[in-house]
Amino acid sequence: MDMKASKKKLGLKERYAHLTRGLDWETSYQKMDDVFPFDKFEGIKIHDWDKWEDPFRLTMDAYWKYQAEKERKLYAIIDAFQQNNGHLGITDARYVNALKLFITGISPLEYMAHRGFTHVGRHFRGVGPRVACQMQAIDEIRHSQTQIHSMSNYNRHYNGMHDFKNMIEKVWYLSVPRSFFDDAVTAGPFEFMIAIGFSFEYVLTNLLFVPFISGAAFNGDMGATTFGFSAQSDEARHMTLGLECIKFMLEQDPDNLPIVQKWIDKWTWRGVRVLSLVGMMMDYMLPKRVMSWQEAWEIYFEQNGGALFKDLARYGITIPKCVEQVTKDKEHISHQVWSTFYQYGGVAAFHTWMPSDEEMDWLSAKYPNTFDKYYRPRFTYWREQEAQGKRFYNNSLPMLCQTCQIPLVFTEPDDPTKIAYRESDYQGEKYHFCSDGCKEIFDNEPEKYVQAWLPVHQIYQGHCFKPDVDPTAPGFDPLAAVLDWYNLVDGQDNKDFNGSEDQRNFAAWRGMATRND
């Protein structure tokens, strides 16, 4: 290769240029379209891949050096936290249930993001985006590993975290985050970049990481705080990559705009639905509150996201059409989702509970328009029932949305007393949805979503029992068989926090750490 060696050492910018320009060639024995079969079928037109500008220009040697430094700090802190029984310094063992949701519902997504970026890091025709996606693929697997490592300490002491790899493929509510990523990684590479690189990383990750990690810090969890900070510096890079990708598509050809807009609308809505889990975590699962879900939404989505969409307006991008609805929904979703887990807590890998008086007052103050009117009466009734030994569990299976797979728990945007029902007919079958957003996603690509693995229907079809189970045997208990298939122990991993082994152990261990009896 002819390369002028004008200087002894190349600067970072030059090294990056050599890494991402001029290394590829036009193939002659094979057609380029056969070498890169995935980057045209979505209809995105790219005329000049060299116009790709990676704002970080990261090379492997620099990347390795930065990450190694962060890794050393992270593991030193995790070790110290473990050796000092740091888990006994958290506010309250209820907090650990947020970690259970995280390890079962979020960390596996980091791994799926790794797989997705590895895939697109192979299939873009241009070297620049390929290199950037490969770097991000390494980040993503690192995030999943560091999360698993720092939470494994809790797994030694608390129930429900013992089998997250198995649970993400089986447990009903985990099909919500799982189907989100399955949808993204089975799309083409450009849609994946909008789904994960833009909507998830740019528009929504802040809502996941910033409140969660502040929540961890507020509740005394140094382990999770540290992996959060360690990951957050990567996220800044990922967000910039997602934004660059979107600008690149829009600058390359005007025909790309309607396709990109449709993906932004779709993936913002899909992300909003998944984030309802985070809303519940913030408003109900952190014993020491950081801010309400509504407040977080206003700062990170409405203000920050709003500024982003203003920036994209010059390309013709408009604000996702779901924004009007989510602005109304933000006062409701966390209460509706916590109600759901409370009543289906018998089949969850974490504990649920009713808020205390003080916590209900906090919720009233944060949600003056909605909490006392729609949710406090329900919660008060449930607390009375629990006090009488009749803790409420819903014993029937719920109706699920074909797209987001969440039970139909969300109400009409303009009437919080009515469940929102939507349906479509496709090739003689009926399909049901929780919202206009989910229905529209289905209607655009029905062949994709007719394949949805809906946990409730799968249970009825008999696919959620261990192979040696006979559902026709006398006295067959389907709930027990499903829990067994999930690898959940009834009375230990599930149900109410009050009376749980976690609650008893935490009280006993903290007692030993602070008293001499």
Partner: protein, 119 residues
């Protein structure tokens, strides 16, 4: 276009009626009673007498609600896919025209949930 894909394909419809062992799915929601967070999904034989639904099946599902004991079925209003609909209690689901994955709602006038909150 039914799917954006590399080449044409047909998705496997996971929830065809034949996958439910001779039964069909029926979704039921009780209006103004959001203590039950979502409509319920039942797997029922098509030859079930419709009246067995409110008389035999729903009490096990909704009986924990303080309003349940006050439900008067002669007053109840039914909706099928959101439109007013009148079931014949003595006919079967199939004879009532209910197919696989139909959604019914019922409203019980005068009952508006815990402390009138539609819970």
């Amino acid at each position: 276009m039914p799917v954006v894909a590399l080449k044409p394909y047909q998705g496997e419809v996971k929830d065809r009626q034949e996958n439910f062992h001779g039964n069909q799915l029926l979704y039921v929601g009780w209006e103004d009673h959001l203590m039950f967070c979502a409509p319920l999904c039942f797997m029922l034989p098509p030859d079930l007498r419709f009246g067995d639904l409110p008389e035999q099946i729903l009490p096990g599902a909704y009986g924990a609600h303080p309003d349940w004991a006050r439900v008067d079925w002669s007053e109840a209003r039914w909706f099928r896919s959101g439109r007013p609909w009148q079931p014949d209690f003595d006919k079967t689901l199939a004879e009532n025209g209910l197919g696989h994955k139909e959604v019914l709602r019922f409203q019980t006038p005068g009952l508006t949930g815990i402390a009138g909150s539609c819970s």
